[in-house]
Symmetry: C2
Subunit: 356 residues, 2 copies
């Protein structure tokens, strides 16, 4: 049975990425060796790294003066690398969910943290507005998309100070004005690659302004200086990332991806809003994520949630169980998810509703 | 043409590992999904993580009270994680090569470092002996195998203080008395898995004795507490590691691997020592690595080194160029390299010698 993969991450990748990765595991770039067993210093892998960096720059229109890094450790490692490299005295953070809160926790180890606003009061079901970013902060950090709660900021906020964004779960789903940012980072296991690599886009001249000693591996300058090859990088995840980037370019770039993503999300939100059995957990349409659609059953039908997951499972739908902090369902509609899967989910919702 | 993969790392993996990984990229554990796109919280991946940890414990006879972690970031990240977690005032380090020196550099950010001995005076071509480990050090750190220089300590040294070892390039090539160690770490891209995961074996009660605040991701306790699943781990590299571990168990365990490794190294060192054209760079047989055999051409034939690399390349031999710090050649004989490849290399050496 064909599977419809709604996992929140690691999550669906394009068949192009999967097929090319499987091929390279048997024979990489005609070397007669597996991509799992070639030196990262080989000319064949250097070409992978170079092209991957170049394609990120091309697709996101990264201006001159920025470096693109592929690091291990996950976005969670960036929660401490950002303040290690950028926080001298005080940083401003927007608290929009679990990952933002985790980033705040790490920043507090390095200096004062001004949480400019938080939506914790309503279980992070909205994006705070009207907050003021202090102009004496070293930087302002926010999370573009909140996987667990299904909210998203699909814009580049104005900031009087350096701007830092965790774009782990929505990078490559819209054009970004990179020139507004000093650091963008993204764990790759949503819209880019299998788990194990984190993309970091850093403005070179944002570095070197803190007084503390930084461990070599945590210092962005180490990786900038060595073209992201200071030590052995996660070779296979980077190879897969390159396949996805090529595929995105072939499709027409991030504007085309954005259009597809908006269409998929609109279809699903419409189905939820017009149903009597399901309701969205994020009520302001402006705050709704187009990557992670969170919904629950209305009070009347609450007891049927478990049954619906099994019902959907019988149709090949996997990964729609909501995070325990929200409950209900979460359908992740990352770039690689086809509209067909959204339609299958909607049909399942309709059929289930008809049944009850 | 069949390739003979002598890369120093990332390096040759067993065909068992490669084939099973390629299969799982198309269909993982009968889920109908790629291992690249399944949630790390799925029961299928949890089973991979559990079995991988259990097999490390079984193969290395890890006693009770230790945790096995699979972390991202490479062994280089451990160079700072070790002192972050264990160094209160002073640590002792043995300097046997570039990686040891890099570990020392990081430790100095956290406290006093006593370099108990160094073989830097002779370009790290031997293992220092007769050094004294100060009993007031928080721990003693050494590197079991020095990939670049081809030296190795194939024993568990006596230490009056906590023992920490970087076993990146020779783990699973001999039985280890884990009970003597507080931390063993190993970048996986030699004897275990593709690049992107680092194995850490840590004695639980060695943790929690330093005063400093440790960033969450750098605190071993975070990962111990969460069974190495605090955040998304490098799923594919861990899946491949599990394949290798299963293969090792099937072969009969580390004692069998050790025998195979000793045989391969003996064959190659014998060929080098009995040749008029080649000579080993490590002269004391007790210090010679069985994982990385470093050799050069004698003064008389020095000019032919480049030609030999091409000559060997025509026979499918790849990855034998020595590191620039040593020059000449380096043949890495990791566990997955068959004796057949060693024979092909020896034959190439003989044929080349006959030609000149």
């Amino acid at each position: 049975m064909k599977k419809h993969n709604f996992y929140a991450g690691p999550s669906i990748l394009s068949q192009y990425t999967i097929k090319n990765t499987a091929d390279a595991i048997l024979n990489f770039a005609d070397t007669g060796l597996s991509v799992l067993e070639v030196s990262h210093r080989s000319k064949e892998f250097q070409a992978v790294m170079d092209e991957a960096q170049a394609l990120v720059k091309e697709l996101l229109e990264v201006p001159e003066g920025y470096s693109v890094l592929f690091l291990g450790g996950g976005a969670s490692m960036q929660f401490c690398m950002v303040p290690y490299n950028l926080l001298n005295r005080k940083a401003a953070y927007l608290e929009t969910g679990t990952w933002a809160a985790n980033a705040i926790k790490e920043a507090r180890l390095f200096g004062e943290v001004d949480v400019v606003a938080s939506s914790r009061d309503a279980n992070f079901t909205y994006i705070p507005k009207g907050y003021v970013i202090p102009s004496d902060a070293d930087y302002f950090h926010f999370t573009t998309n909140n996987t667990i709660y299904g909210t998203e900021m699909r814009y580049d906020p104005e900031s009087p100070v350096r701007l830092v964004a965790d774009m782990s779960s929505d990078i490559f789903s819209r054009p970004v004005d990179v020139s507004k940012y000093d650091v963008i980072y993204a764990g790759a296991q949503k819209n880019l690659a299998p788990a194990g690599v984190t993309i970091v886009i850093v403005r070179d001249d944002a570095l070197g302004h803190v007084d503390r000693a930084i461990p070599t591996m945590l210092d962005y300058r180490t990786h900038v200086k060595k073209g992201s090859m200071f030590n052995t990088p996660p070779v296979l995840p980077i190879f897969s990332a390159l396949q996805t980037l090529r595929y995105y370019k072939e499709l027409g770039g991030v504007k085309v991806l954005e259009k597809m993503d908006l269409d998929k999300a609109a279809r699903l939100y419409d189905a939820i809003d017009s149903s009597r059995m399901f309701e969205g957990t994020v009520t302001d349409p402006a705050d709704r994520s187009i990557m992670n659609v969170c919904f629950v059953m209305t009070a009347e039908y609450k007891a049927l949630e478990k049954e619906f997951i099994d019902f959907a499972g019988e149709r090949g739908i996997v990964g729609i169980k909501g995070h325990r902090s929200v409950g209900g369902f979460r359908a992740s509609l990352y770039n690689a998810l086809p509209m067909e899967s959204v339609e299958v989910l909607i049909q399942a919702m309709k059929d289930f509703e008809a049944k009850h």
